[in-house]
Amino acid sequence: MKPELGTVGRSEPRKDAREKVTGAARYVADLEAEGALWAAVLRSPHHSARIVSLGTERARRAPEVVAVVTSADVPGQKRYAAILADQPALAVDVVRHKGEPVALLVARTREAARSALGLLEVEYQELPAVLDPVAALEPGAPPVHENGNLLTRYQFTTGDPDAAFAGAEVVLEETFRVQRVAPGALEPEACLARWEGDGSLTLWVSSQKPFEDRRNVAAVLGLPEERVRIVSAVVGGAFGGKEDSGVAVLAGLAAWAARGTVRVVNDRWESFLAHPKRHPAVVRYRLAALRDGTILGVDVLGHLDKGAYASYGPAVAGIFTESLTGAYRIPAVRVDTRLAYTHAPFSGAMRGFGGPQAHFAVESMVDMLAARLELDPLEVRRRNAVRPGDRHYTGVPLDSSARSMERILAELERARKRLRLREAGPGRRAGVGVSLAVQSMGLGAHVPDDSTARLEWLPDGRVVILAGSPDLGQGLAVATEQLAAEALGLPAARVFTAPLDTRRSPDGGVTCASRMTYLTGNALRAAAARLEARLLEGAAELAGREVAELRYQAGEVLLPDGRRLAAGAVASRLAERGARLAAEAVASFAYPPERTPQEYPVGIPHVLHVFCGQVARVEVDPELGTVEVTDVVAVHDVGKAVNPAAVEGQIEGGVAQGLGYALSEDMPLKASGEWVDGFAEYLLPTARDVPRIECVLLEEAEASGPWGAKGVGEMGVAPTAPAVANAIFDAVGVRLTRLPASPEAILSSPGGPPPGERPR
C-alpha cells in the first residue's frame, strides 16, 4: 500500500499571491533605486543595412545625457550567446533586422533619454533583405551572416521510407505554414543595473536564466563572472521570451558607461522586435498509409525561420524535428529540417519549443487521412498512437511515458461524444476536433541538464529553499515548497523560497523545457535527505548521543528518552557556533546509453515525454468566416500533480496561448513595411475569446520523478491549434493549411463542399 502523502497532491496557496493581489509585488520596473538613470535604445529602422557612420557628439552634449554607448565602446566581447555567439550587444557595422539595438543612451529621465535618441546621427546604406526561410536558402539570396543562411540542418531516416511509400494504398501531401508569434508576457523585458564602487556590477532581472545572464553580461563587459551579481525580481511571465540576455547586457553596459544605476524598461514594440519569437515554419508533409488507416511512413521537409540571430534556434529545430511524428508509431520516417537565417526579428524559445509547429502539421495530416479514408479521426489516432514498449523514431523507448495513451483516447472519445450533442447557434455550424500531442522534457542528450537546489533550516523553525532557477509566475515556488515539505514531513506553510541571487543561490539552470518540477523536486528530495542527516548529527552532538539512537520525525528529532528536539533549536545552537543547518543536492535528467541513441547531434534525443490530447468544439459562421471556440477539454498526463490548481493553471494558460496561435495572433509585415509590434494589432485572446476549459488530469506516476511527478509547463499549447483546425474542418469542411485561421483564410480556403450544403 502506498503511504499517504502530506502536501503533495494538494492545491496549496501560493505564498506570493498576497503581495501580487495587493500590488506590493515588485517587478523590475517597480524597484526603488535612488538616483537611477534611464537608458533608451536606438534601434535599426531597416531589415538589413550597413552602418556607414554613427555620430554621437550632439547626443553626448545634450543636457541630461550622461552617456552614449556604441559597439565601439563595448569593453569585452562584442557578441553574446544563447547557443552560438552571433548576437551583437550593439550592432557591429551592420544591422540585420528592424529593431536591432544600434546605440544606447543614458540620461537623467526616461523622457530625456528617449528624446536625445533623435540627436544620434546614423547614416545607413540599405542592403537587400530576405524575409522568408525558403527563399533564404535559394542561391543568390541576400546573406544574413557571412557563413550563409543555413544555420542548422537535421536529416534523419528511420526504417525504409521509400518502401513505405511504394507499398502505400494512400499517399497524402500537404504544405503547412505557421506564423510568427510572440511570447507576450504581460511584463515587458526590463533590467535595473547598478555599477558598484568596487568595479563590480549588480543587476535585477526578469529572466528565465539569471546564471546565463551573468555569463553574458560578464563576457560583454570583460569582467570576471564573480564581479557580476544577478538578483531575480518578481517575474511577470516569460514563456520563453525571457530566455534571452539582451536587456541585461544593455543594462550592464549602460550602468558601466554611466558609472551609476540605470533602468532599461522595454516598450511593448521593443519586446516584439528585439526579443525571441516562436519560429515561423513551412512544413511539407508527405504521409503513406494503408486503407485501414495504418500509417506506414512519413517524409517531411521543414523550414524554420530563424530571423537574424541564432538564440536557441538549433535546439528548437531539434525538438521540432523530434515532434514531427507526434504521438504516433511510424515505422519509416525521413525528416529534413532546415533552420534558415532571415532578416526578420529573431526567433528563439517559446513555450513548446518547436512542438506547436510540428503538431499543427502532423495532427492536420492525421485528420486528412481519416477524411480521405472516411474513417473516424479518433479511430485513426487510436490505430497509430504509441503504445508502451514502442520506440520513438529516434530510437528512444517510450515505455513509461506512453502508458497513459489508452486513457487519453478514452477521455477524448467521451468528451467528443458529449460535445457533439450540442447544436450550433442560429446561422452557425458546429464542429468538434481532436488532437494528440507529445512534449519532451529537459534539454536533451549530451547537454548539461541538471539543477541544483539548497535547503536551509533556520533557527526560527522555517525551512528555506535556495532555488537556482527562477519562478516565472507559473508556480515553481509553491510546487517545490510542497516537494521539500513532503520530503521533510512538514506542512508546506513552513517551507519558503528565497529570492534568487547568484551570490547565494546554487545554479539551478534555465527555467525552461518543462523540466523544473521534475529536476528541482528530485534535487530537493536528495537535499532533504542530507539535511535530515545533518540535523541528526547536530542533535546527536548537542544531546551527547550517537546518531543511531536518534530518529527524525516531522521537523523534530526524537531522543531515546522520549524527549523531542525541534530542528529550529538545533539550527539555533549550530548558528551560535557559526554553522548552518543546510544541505545541497543536484539532480539530472539521465541519458543512459542503453536508452539514449548516441548518433544524434547535441540536444537530441530527449528521453522523457509527456502525452496529452485535447478536444475543441467550435461554431463557425459560414457567411462571415468567424470562429468561436466554445469548449476545450484538455486531457493531460502530468505524472503526479503536485499542486493540482497550479497544474490546471498551466494547462488553461497553455490552451489560451494555443487558441491565440490558432485564431488571432500573428506578427506579419504590414503594407507600410513595418512589423506588427503592438497589442492593437497583435491580438492576444481576451476573457471573451477563451472558453471554459475542462482539464482532465491523468496521473500516471513517473518512477524517476519526485513522488511520480513529471512536467506540465509547455504541453498545453501544442494540441490546441490542430484541435481547433480539425473542428473547423468538421464544421464547414475547410482544411486550413496556415495559421492563424482568420475569417479571410476560412472564406478563401479551397476544399470541402460549400458550407451550407455539407451534410452533418
Binding site: 492545491s11 496557496p13 501560493r14 506570493d16 499571491a17 498576497r18 503581495e19 501580487k20 493581489v21 495587493t22 500590488g23 506590493a24 509585488a25 515588485r26 517587478y27 520596473a29 517597480d30 526603488e32 511570447p183 507576450g184 508576457a185 504581460l186 511584463e187 515587458p188 518578481v234 517575474v235 511577470g236 511571465g237 514563456f239 516598450d267 511593448r268 514594440w269 516565472l472 509566475g473 507559473q474 508556480g475 490548481a645 497550479a646 490546471e648 493553471g649 488553461e652 494558460g653 497553455g654 490552451v655 489560451a656 496561448q657 503592438g678 497589442f679 492593437a680 492576444l684 481576451t686 476573457a687 471573451r688 477563451v690 471554459r692 476549459i693
Partner: protein
C-alpha cells in the same frame, strides 16, 4: 501646475506637467506601483486599470490634468497594508487566479467595478468586464472563478 485629487481616500496635490499620464504620476510621484505598464501606454492591456470615480480606466490614457478634483482608487487602497484582504483579493488568491501577477491588480479592480454595479453577474458579464485586462498566464478560467467566488462572498456580507 498643481493638480489636486483623492487617491485611496487621501487628498494629494501634485505639482507637475498636466500632460503627464495618471499612470506616470501614480508610479513615479506617489510610489503606487501596483498599476503596471504592459503595452507601452496605449490602453491595450489593462494592466494599469484604476478606478476613477468608481469606473475602471486605463491610467495610461488619462492625463493627470483630467483627474483634478476626482477620486482615484488603486490596488493599494483595497486592503490596509498588512491587514485583511478585500474579498475580491482573497477570492483571487483562493481560486488560484494569480500566476505571474502582472495583470492581477488591474483585473481585481475591474472586478471590483463590476461587482459594485452588478453584485450577481453572469459568466458572460464577468468575461465582458475582464475583457480589457489581458492575461497571458491563466487562460482566464480561474480569474472568472475568482470573480464568481467574490460575488458570493460579498453577497453573504451584504
Amino acid at each position: 501646475m498643481t493638480v489636486s485629487f483623492a487617491v485611496n481616500g487621501r487628498e494629494v496635490q501634485i505639482a507637475c506637467d498636466p500632460g503627464r499620464t495618471l499612470l506616470e504620476v501614480l508610479r513615479e510621484e506617489l510610489s503606487l506601483t501596483g498599476a503596471k505598464d504592459g503595452c507601452g501606454g496605449e490602453g491595450e492591456c489593462g494592466a494599469c486599470t484604476v478606478l476613477l470615480d468608481g469606473e475602471p480606466v486605463n491610467a495610461c490614457l488619462v492625463l493627470v490634468g483630467q483627474v483634478e478634483g476626482r477620486r482615484v482608487e488603486t490596488i493599494e487602497g483595497l486592503a490596509p497594508p498588512g491587514g485583511e484582504l478585500h474579498p475580491i483579493q482573497r477570492a483571487f488568491v483562493e481560486a488560484g487566479a494569480v500566476q505571474c501577477g502582472y495583470c492581477t491588480p488591474g483585473a481585481v479592480l475591474a472586478a471590483r467595478a463590476l461587482l459594485s454595479r452588478e453584485p450577481d453577474p453572469s459568466e458572460e458579464q464577468i468575461r465582458e468586464a475582464l475583457a480589457g485586462n489581458l492575461c497571458r498566464c491563466t487562460g482566464y478560467a480561474k480569474m472568472v472563478d475568482a470573480v464568481r467566488r467574490a460575488a458570493r462572498e460579498l453577497g453573504r456580507e451584504a
